[in-house]
């Protein structure tokens, strides 16, 4: 495949794959409660994930190892179990949130409660993984994910004031509700820096047999793709800031989010919202379920590969076949999907040091990266974001749980 097509596909993956239940819900809450004030959090989260995705791609291209495979080999089983458990738990919570997003899109479209849609949605996701190939999952969902550009169209239609948006890019203390402000900020970072994004990216690079020749493609793909993805999340925040914030509406249930598109785009906006939510969350759920299987299979050396027939990688297939119905049951149990989504994002932020530090250590090990090891800037920046996000989550999470 020509290098240009690779880059185009990579950027599409970034755009289509970025917005999902977490980034949409946290952007809607941020915009509705604090106007443009929290745009900087999306920028920080996007920059951080762009750097992490680039690192995961570089690790796969240079060392031919996926992330879990390299972590188990480099740190030994004892240490490896800690990030494995953390990423597995967080990924499962986010998987449930994504299925929640899918079922709510179906409820908006049909009026039938989202709890009934949980098992059918999980079955549809499972069927695509069962019959599909890796390329189909990665490229297909991101291609469809372009529908999330509807938020950019809606934001432009609402004529946001450019100066206000730019001012929002500068991190600043909140004007009111400090605890709430920092909780949403950390949930935004957690939504952008979801571990499954860079774990899945490293598995993709290995399945596509990347080598040193792909380093530039990797940098462009990660940088441009994720930045475009970030702008879609900013667009969602801007819509909330212009539609919900002035009306004094604070988002605390999914039912309030469609107004982001119905205000500027009327009925077309409604169906675009349903399509965007459904496709974005469906694509994310596919990737997370697959990544959970990669994580465990690569960590223990089992046969893995979405291009293999399920029976030829039985334990690998069993992982997503068990994880999907369990995640669906969480939604079917009637837990509030929005609260579950925002909590999962905060938990992701909380677990960042455990999921990111092992990758950083690997990226500084010449045995894996030869002369392509990390510069100190990316080391320090990513570590700072991870530790700060974790500390803020540690403080903000109990306040949010006990408070509300």
């Amino acid at each position: 495949m020509s290098k240009f097509l690779e880059i185009a596909l990579g950027i599409v993956t970034g755009i289509g794959g970025f917005l999902e239940a977490g980034s949409l819900a946290t952007a809607a809450q941020a915009g509705s409660e604090f106007g443009y004030q929290l745009i900087w959090a999306i920028a920080v989260g996007t920059a951080c994930i762009a750097v992490l995705v680039e690192m995961a791609g570089r690790l796969a291209a240079v060392s031919r190892h996926t992330l879990p495979d390299a972590m188990r080999e480099r740190f030994g089983i004892g240490f490896f179990l800690i990030p494995l458990a953390a990423v597995a738990l967080v990924s499962f919570l986010v998987l449930s949130s994504e299925i929640g997003g899918v079922t709510l899109a179906l409820e908006f479209a049909t009026g039938v409660s989202h709890r009934w849609w949980a098992i059918p949605a999980a079955l549809a996701i499972w069927l695509l993984l069962w019959k599909g190939t890796f390329g189909m999952v990665e490229k297909g969902t991101s291609m469809l994910g372009l529908v999330t550009l509807a938020f950019v169209v809606a934001a432009l239609k609402l004529h946001p004031d450019a100066a206000g948006v730019a001012a929002g890019l500068v991190p600043r203390a909140p004007t009111h509700d400090g605890a709430r402000y920092w909780f949403i900020a950390v949930s935004i970072v957690g939504a952008s820096v979801s571990p499954y994004l860079f774990y899945f990216y490293s598995a993709g690079a290995v399945e596509d047999q990347w080598d040193e020749g792909y380093l530039t493609i990797n940098r462009i793909t990660a940088g441009v793709g994720m930045t475009f993805g970030g702008t879609v999340a900013v667009a969602a925040l801007v819509c909330a800031a212009l539609v919900l914030h002035p009306a004094g509406i604070q988002v605390d249930r999914y039912e309030q989010i469609p107004f982001l598109l119905t205000s500027p785009l009327a009925r077309a906006g409604f169906w675009l919202f349903v399509a965007a939510l459904f496709i974005a969350c469906f694509g994310a759920a596919l990737e997370i379920a697959l990544q959970l299987a990669y994580l465990v299979a690569q960590g223990f050396g089992w046969r893995w590969g979405e291009n293999l027939r399920p029976r030829d990688a039985a334990r690998f297939s069993a992982i997503y076949t068990v994880a999907l119905p369990l995640a669906a049951l969480v939604i079917a149990s009637g837990i509030d999907p929005l609260r579950l989504t925002v909590m999962s994002m905060a938990m992701t932020a909380l677990s960042l040091p455990v999921t990111v530090v092992p990758l950083l250590v690997l990226m500084n090990d010449p045995q894996y990266l030869d002369e392509h090891t990390n510069g100190w800037v990316s080391n320090a920046a990513v570590l700072a974001v991870s530790v700060i996000a974790c500390v803020v989550a540690l403080v903000a999470l109990p306040l949010q749980v006990f408070g509300s």
Binding site: S63, G301, R311, A314, A318, T321
Partner: protein
């Protein structure tokens, strides 16, 4: 070559390129007075537990009455050590694939389209 760094936890690939697990353990053969030799690698059974928690490993071995079904690959059958370790063994005929086959035959294989 350092055994812990270069061999332990490495991906093991069988003669036909099938992934058959990670190196969970390594056997050293002792000789009187002289240095020891690397005898072979071990996959599966209770081997992994010994690196997690010795008490847990002893308890498991008491429960199983032994080390469980481990796969021992003598060093003579180990080929190139690179990104992973290639061994001249047929994985399906070793205990390393026992769970893989159990899951295939009792769970995944029964689902249509597997």
């Amino acid at each position: 070559m350092l055994i812990g760094r270069d061999i332990m936890d490495q991906q093991v690939v069988d003669a036909r390129g099938r992934l058959m697990g990670k190196v969970d353990g390594v056997v050293l053969e002792l000789h009187e007075g002289e240095a020891a030799h690397l005898a072979g690698i071990v996959i599966g059974g209770t081997t992994l537990l010994w690196r997690l928690h010795r008490g847990l490993a002893r308890w498991a071995e008491r429960k199983l009455g032994g080390e469980g079904r481990i796969t021992y690959v003598p060093w003579s059958k180990v080929g190139k050590v690179g990104v992973d370790i290639k061994v001249d063994v047929e994985a399906p005929r070793t205990p390393a694939f026992r769970w893989e086959h159990w899951v295939r035959d009792h769970f995944i294989g029964r689902i249509p389209g597997a």
